[in-house]
């Protein structure tokens, strides 16, 4: 078991109760997809796992270690093992693709060397290799903000690959991309999951993508888990429970 989340609560300073006691386990090699409406707590959940957000109560176990209360150096060491990809890519816009990818290695590079922009030949080689994995090695010297949305997301994936992550989180990675690009991005995640054995937890909106890529699904509604099972178990009744009575499924291919 790679991850175990127990009774996780998150209350924001403005009083929003985003997670209301979420518990689940993730086995190594799974492709777990989290679904739910906007505001159901999906993003909060992912950010609590890699501690971008401090959970209010509950615990997160990563590789058998309670990481909920880690601080400083120890926390940074854990963070280097968990990659994350965001909806809005979150690249450093004015820097080259290569620098963006190298930034994924910052946790393992000395402060002084990283400030001087000095990376060892092995790290550079690794950066090119992860760019090749997502098929845009030829763009290495180009400025990140000159790329298209799909290309930027691929750079973001390459950046997270630099961490050699045991666990890869993806927060609605295709929500701001067109359908065709969405599928190609999802295929990169699939390949990372299958070929490298990286465990993936991914927030998604479209059920067609969920059915195609997920090995298991969790559904959140108002901060609670309302469904846990196989992608094909989500029938019409479940769909209405998760998304509300008025919702209707749309296809994306």
């Amino acid at each position: 078991m790679i991850l175990e989340v127990q009774n996780l609560h998150k209350i924001y300073d403005n009083g929003t109760h985003a997670l209301k006691g979420v518990s689940f386990k993730v086995e190594e090699g799974e492709f777990l997809v989290v679904i739910g409406l906007s505001g159901s707590g999906k993003s909060t959940l992912l950010r609590c796992i890699n501690r971008l957000i401090e959970p209010t109560s509950g615990s997160v176990n990563f590789l058998g270690k309670d990481i909920t209360h880690l601080k400083g150096e120890e926390l940074r060491k854990i963070k280097t093992q968990i990659g994350i990809v965001f909806q809005h890519f979150n690249l450093i816009n004015r820097r080259s693709v290569l620098i963006n990818v190298l930034a994924g290695k910052l946790g393992n590079v000395g402060t002084f060397n990283s400030l001087m922009g000095k990376f060892s030949d092995e790290v550079l080689e690794e950066a090119y290799k992860s760019l090749e994995t997502v098929g845009i090695a030829e763009k290495a010297k180009v400025r990140a903000d000159s790329l298209s949305g799909g290309q930027q997301q691929r750079v973001a994936i390459a950046r997270s690959l630099m961490q050699n992550p045991k666990l890869l989180l993806a927060d609605e990675p295709v929500a701001s991309l067109d359908p065709a690009t969405s599928n190609s991005i999802m295929q990169y995640f699939e390949r990372i999951n299958k070929d490298m054995g990286t465990t993936v937890i991914c927030n998604l909106h479209f059920l067609s993508l969920v059915r195609r890529y997920a090995t298991r699904v969790i559904a959140l509604k108002e901060g609670n888990i309302v469904f846990e099972g196989m992608p094909n178990d989500i029938n019409n009744t479940w769909f209405k429970t998760i998304y509300g009575e008025e919702a209707e499924e749309v296809e994306i291919r």
């Binding site: 971008l52 854990i78 963070k79 809005h88 979150n90 816009n93 290695k105 393992n108």
Partner: protein, 357 residues
């Protein structure tokens, strides 16, 4: 498990905070209404009645009288605000929606505006007669005439003074850059709010820079000309101090306005705080910083001229000397030179700022 503590209904919470807000607003309305009444009585009595109607030179002042007016104002103000029909109630959004409110607000608002304008007119001693008196127009004609026939004999002296001014401004701007850079990171809320200790540093820095900025460079020049003696050095330090305080605010606001996304992404890779700032914050703020700094150089050239008037060196000091001797032809040349240099600086700095974006 602390479920009981967690189960506060957000709706009830919202309701409670709204009631609290309304109560707070009522207190504010009482104070503001009392102030409005107090202000009206004072303005009508002192500016309009004493100064204008009675045409008194020096106004009588007594603490008891003022205190009585204050008490009366507080009484009227409180009653007015508590009736929820006053101007302040309307401003704070707690007024009842009736015709009385509408009339009170409109009439009293109009009344306040008018007495303020009239009092301002009286206090500034506005006089159309003096503006167009024959003697006055004659003097103006003399000065304008001299200004437009500049004395070119002092051109080389003026040029040197002008160069001195530009260097004063340039040096003040250059020295300010590293100091401001460091200060700005420590006075950016989003970087400092995470723990108590850094937040206290942030707070104290903001306090100091706000204070320093609120004092005009002209006053700083006076202070430093006593400290280090009259001359360009005093002017440079005065500009430097003010530049640091102003730009620290602008820089830190640029830092506060950055996109959080990259910061999140870089810190999620396990990078430490210094690396996060260098990789996610700095690339986003380099251009705004550059732009502010160039603009500030442009402002400093203008300020350096003004500072010269109180002994900060450069062209301003020269202007002051010739003005004191009433040699208007020389003053004319200096004024024209200042105008040209300011115009050129303005143009260059705008062009550079355009180019880097």
């Amino acid at each position: 498990m602390k479920t009981a503590e967690l189960e506060i209904s957000p709706h009830a919470k919202l309701q409670r905070s709204k009631e609290k807000q309304n109560k707070k607003n009522l207190y504010k309305a009482v104070l503001l209404d009392s102030f409005f009444v107090f202000y009206s009585i004072l303005v009508v009595q002192r500016a309009i009645y004493y100064k204008f109607v009675l045409d008194m030179r020096s106004l009588p002042f007594s603490w008891t009288e003022t205190a009585i007016i204050l008490v009366i104002s507080l009484l009227i103000g409180s009653l007015w605000a508590l009736s929820h029909t006053s101007l302040s109630c309307r401003l704070f959004g707690i007024a009842v929606d009736t015709k009385t409110t509408k009339w009170t607000v409109e009439l009293f608002g109009w009344f306040l505006f008018n007495i303020t304008f009239i009092a301002g007119w009286i206090v500034t001693k506005v006089s159309i007669v003096q503006l167009f008196s024959a003697q006055g127009l004659d003097g103006a004609g003399r000065i304008f005439g001299s200004l437009f026939q500049p004395q070119f004999g002092i051109f080389d002296d003026a040029l040197f003074a002008m160069i001195e001014t530009i260097y004063i401004a340039l040096l003040a701007t250059l020295i300010s850059i590293p100091i401001t850079l460091i200060l700005s990171f420590f006075s950016a809320r989003n970087l400092m709010k995470e723990n108590k200790f850094t937040f206290i540093i942030y707070y104290i820095l903001r306090l100091i820079t706000n204070f320093v900025r609120s004092i005009e460079p002209l006053v700083w020049a006076i202070i430093f000309s006593v400290w280090v003696g009259i001359g360009p050095f005093a002017g440079m330090i005065a500009l430097l101090v003010h530049t640091i305080a102003s730009n620290a605010k602008l820089y830190s606001e640029a830092i506060e306005g950055i996109d959080r996304g990259p910061v999140e992404a870089i810190s999620a890779t396990g990078a430490n705080k210094v690396q996060v700032v260098w990789y996610a914050v700095v690339p986003q703020i380099v251009l705004p910083f550059l732009s502010f700094t160039i603009y500030r150089w442009d402002i400093n050239v203008r300020m350096a001229t003004i500072i010269g008037l109180v002994g900060g060196g450069g062209i301003g000091t020269m202007l002051m000397q010739y003005q004191g001797l009433a040699r208007w032809h020389e003053v004319g040349l200096i004024v024209i030179m200042i105008a040209v240099v300011v115009w050129i600086m303005d143009y260059i700095s705008a062009k550079i700022r355009e180019a880097i974006y």
